[in-house]
């Protein structure tokens, strides 16, 4: 809800749909807001229903518009959340490094996503695992970096990163990494097909000039 971001992509970027999943309280909404508007509000509301924000990102001189979907994590809202998984290009599995059970639940989130997004080949789907709240003290840490890497290896996921929405560490990188992962998966899947052709384009061909009212310049 924070951050005035233009709803429509302002140019004809490829639109990538990113779904952020994970237990309640791991910092999904904070990550999204940090990424989109470079803003952190420690006391923002917990998410009700479904929200999304758009944000442009540039990678190798190519622009992409990320449409980031954020949902409420409680089991109760599963039936209202899962329909939004379909058509995702990227899935960001999130836990908090000071919350072991949120780490354990990643299996559940991954399976829920695969099932409802109706992904046939999960080996190539671009998942990225994000361990948030990297700013917490060593005493509070419950999940080590090694555990993270082990889990990713076991699950065939190539990208993982520790972030802090609070002090803006690695947040841009996490999303960038996700897109790069997606690009690799795409080109693997079909080298001949144009990567943009099968993405949804919400824009109304306004202009090719990049309109900078989409907040938050990329910090690369």
């Amino acid at each position: 809800m924070s951050g005035r971001v233009n709803m429509r992509p302002t140019n004809k970027n490829a639109l990538l749909k990113v779904v952020i999943l994970g237990d309640g309280g791991v910092g999904k909404s904070c990550l999204m807001n940090r990424f989109v508007s470079n803003h952190f509000d420690e006391h923002s509301f917990h998410t009700i229903g479904v929200e999304f924000l758009n944000k442009d990102i540039e990678i190798d001189n190519e622009s992409y518009t990320l449409q980031i979907w954020d949902t409420a994590g409680q089991e109760r809202f599963k039936t209202l959340r899962t329909p939004f998984y379909r058509g995702s290009d990227i899935c960001m599995l999130t836990y908090a490094i000071d919350d072991k059970s949120s780490f354990r639940n990643m299996n559940m989130w991954k399976n829920e996503f695969l099932y409802y997004a109706d992904i046939k080949e999960n080996s190539s789907f671009p998942f990225i695992v994000v361990g948030n709240k990297s700013d917490v003290s060593i005493e509070e840490r419950e999940v080590s970096q090694l555990e993270l890497e082990t889990w990713c290896n076991e699950n065939g996921i190539a990208s993982c990163i520790e972030t802090s929405a609070k002090n803006a560490s690695n947040v841009q990188e996490a999303f960038k990494m996700a897109v790069q992962h997606w690009l690799r998966a795409e080109s693997r899947a079909d080298r001949t097909e144009c990567t943009y052709s099968d993405t949804v384009d919400l824009s109304k061909k306004q202009s090719d000039v990049r309109n900078s009212c989409c907040a938050g310049a990329t910090d690369d």
């Binding site: 709803m7 309640g24 917990h46 809202f77 329909p83 379909r86 058509g87």
Partner: protein, 625 residues
């Protein structure tokens, strides 16, 4: 004819009919409300009777049950109307042979109907408390030959003499002459079959009237795929904007259903301290609860009495209790609260380690309390003691209602209550009262939420078919974008002051149940031009609606919603689907057709899937792809 086993064909039924004149044998029924029926006994020489029976409580409560406990109201209602219990008490009905009736008179804005015999004496009269007798008149005109009296245009004379010259003349003017020579059931059947040829403008209203008849058909013909197809095709015709005009064949019911004009309902002044005291007697009892509620509905509650009045609205205090009884109750509630609180406070570490479910609840509450209204002074800052109270109440509520436990959204509902009460026990019991009103929002399977979204669509479609159609064509008929509004009653959209005002208005249950859905309809009506002009699709609508947060003028919305409510209840074509939602007695012309009538599009949500959940998800899924 008195034989219970005999076949009975109900041509027409209407609930909520008060009987004010009756033959001497039925005098005990006078001034009672019940159901009026027109029935036919096919085995007794096609005798037709006017029957009336007192309110059947079992059916009534059934309707209420089904309204709030199932997602699939459409399915259920269909069952309900398709398999009316065989009425073994039929012999007790007031029954008047139609042959004894020679005329009937319509009066009181079509709300009163009086049947007269050959001498012109009144045999029986009925007042239609809900809606009017137009539907019945249409049916009577269908099964009888009638002519408007020359002396009194409100009187219809029944022509039974075939050779009556007046009748022969009349016949020529009826295009449906052939229809009337057949049995009424066949007539009805033909009526349905001819349906697709009818001018499209008439369709909407015609549906409700046709269903009156179709539903009482002898072989439950609605289940017949043929009928289904016919109705379906007709609906498509609406979509395609067919504008073929047929002649006045069906003039009886052929006119465009239109809502009365939107009137202004200015907001009133809030309930003042003086008013409130004046409405209590010396013992503290509130005599005229409805009067209190009416003032609150019109203008809310002044801040200096709000705290006290909320306790009544939220069932913590009883309206009809003396001070002494009240004190007693408060003492009990106080003890009860601390017993429940102690239950979780005394949980040992080992107990907790062995109780995953409890641990998860606890941790979720902890997390959410830290993310609830922290921008308000009352909850701001680290280690704010009010956060602890918020936490304690939610934990205790999880003990009070273990099945429900804690669901996200509850902390939003508690926050304004705690802020106002500033007292743990009082806030807890008021919160319990609020939860009792909205607990279905937090159903495990979200059935309550899905049903509300569906109801919201039905209302929108009735109020503004064009907009509903827009939503349908833009994959948004699931109304999902209103989820947050409904889950926490606009808590996230409004300021603390505004949300308190809105809630107290909604707690009065005036002017109807589910008024919060009309609040949604009113806001959507304000936004629809933006949505349609920009040709927004599902994601964009969702975004636009989410971004309305903080930009809603709630007084304007409430008065607009009240105006819309009045437009809807005054609409001639008010359907049972809508009646059910706003809590008016239904007329019996129920179910699937109704729902479609109001909204050709809702079928996506309700009638195609194996289970509702699946079809809902499908709908939602299709929505944004």
């Amino acid at each position: 004819m008195e034989d219970n086993q005999e076949e009975v064909l109900e041509i027409f039924t209407q609930d909520g009919v008060l009987i004010t004149t009756a033959p001497a044998t039925y005098i005990h029924y006078l001034n009672n409300v019940g159901t009026l029926l027109i029935v036919e006994y096919p085995n007794s020489n096609l005798t037709r009777c006017i029957e009336w029976k007192p309110l059947d409580l079992t059916i009534d409560s059934d309707v209420q049950d089904q309204e709030w406990t199932v997602v699939s109201t459409v399915e259920r209602r269909r069952t309900y109307s398709g398999s009316l219990p065989v009425d073994v008490n039929r012999s007790k009905h007031l029954k008047i042979n139609m042959n004894d009736i020679k005329s009937f008179r319509v009066s009181h804005k079509n709300q009163k109907l009086t049947f007269r015999d050959g001498k012109g004496d009144n045999v029986c009269s009925f007042i239609f408390q809900h809606g009017n007798c137009d539907g019945l008149i249409a049916v009577l005109k269908g099964i009888l030959k009638t002519i408007v009296s020359r002396r009194d245009k409100h009187v219809y004379c029944i022509l039974d003499d075939i050779k009556n010259p007046e009748r022969q003349q009349l016949d020529k003017s009826f295009a449906e002459l052939n229809l009337f020579q057949e049995q009424s059931s066949a007539y009805v059947w033909k009526f349905v079959k001819n349906f697709p040829n009818r001018p499209y403008e008439a369709t909407m209203e015609a549906f409700s009237k046709i269903t009156d008849i179709v539903y009482r058909g002898p072989e439950h013909r609605l289940m017949d795929s043929e009928v289904h197809n016919i109705l379906h095709r007709s609906l498509e015709a609406i979509e395609n904007n067919t504008t073929t005009h047929s002649h006045d064949e069906y003039e009886l019911i052929a006119h465009v259903p239109r809502l009365p004009a939107l009137k202004e309902y200015p907001r009133g002044r809030p309930l003042s301290f003086e008013q409130w005291k004046a409405l209590q007697d010396s013992e503290g009892q509130v005599e005229d609860v409805e009067a209190v509620k009416l003032v609150i509905f019109r203008g809310g509650i002044s801040s200096n009495v709000r705290k006290e009045v909320w306790k009544y609205l939220l069932d913590y205090y009883r309206w009809k209790c003396s001070h002494a009884e009240q004190q007693n109750l408060i003492k009990q509630r106080n003890e009860e609260y601390f017993i429940m609180k102690l239950q979780w406070r005394s949980m040992t570490k080992i107990q907790e380690d062995n109780f995953t479910d409890y641990r998860e609840r606890k941790s979720l509450i902890e997390k959410d309390v830290n993310r609830t209204d922290r921008t308000l002074d009352y909850f701001a800052g680290d280690n704010n003691p009010n956060l602890q109270v918020l936490y304690d109440i939610l934990m205790t509520y999880a003990m009070y209602n273990f099945d429900l436990g804690y669901v996200q959204g509850m902390s939003d509902l508690l926050s304004p209550i705690l802020y106002l009460m500033n007292n743990e026990v009082e806030a807890f019991w008021c919160f319990v009262g609020f939860m009792n009103k909205v607990s279905s929002n937090f159903d495990m399977d979200q059935a309550g939420m899905k049903e509300q979204l569906q109801h919201l669509h039905t209302l929108t479609a009735f109020y503004d078919p064009e907009f509903a159609n827009y939503l349908y064509k833009h994959d948004s008929a699931n109304m999902f974008f209103c989820f947050r509004w409904l889950l926490v009653w606009f808590k996230r959209e409004l300021s603390q002051q505004d949300v308190m005002r809105l809630w107290e208005v909604l707690w009065t249950d005036l002017p109807c149940q589910n008024f919060h859905l009309l609040i949604c309809v009113a806001i959507l009506d304000t936004e629809k031009n933006i949505l349609m002009e920009n040709n927004y699709g599902f994601t964009e609508i969702l975004k636009h609606i989410n971004d309305l947060s903080g930009n809603i003028d709630i007084s304007t919305v409430i008065s607009k919603a009240e105006g819309m409510y009045n437009q809807i209840v005054d609409a001639e074509h008010l359907t049972d689907a809508v009646r059910l939602i706003i809590g008016l007695p239904i007329l019996g012309n129920t179910s699937i057709v109704d729902s479609k009538e109001a909204s050709p599009d809702i079928s996506d949500l309700t009638t195609n899937g194996d289970t509702d959940e699946v079809s809902y998800e499908n709908a939602l899924t299709h929505s944004f792809l």
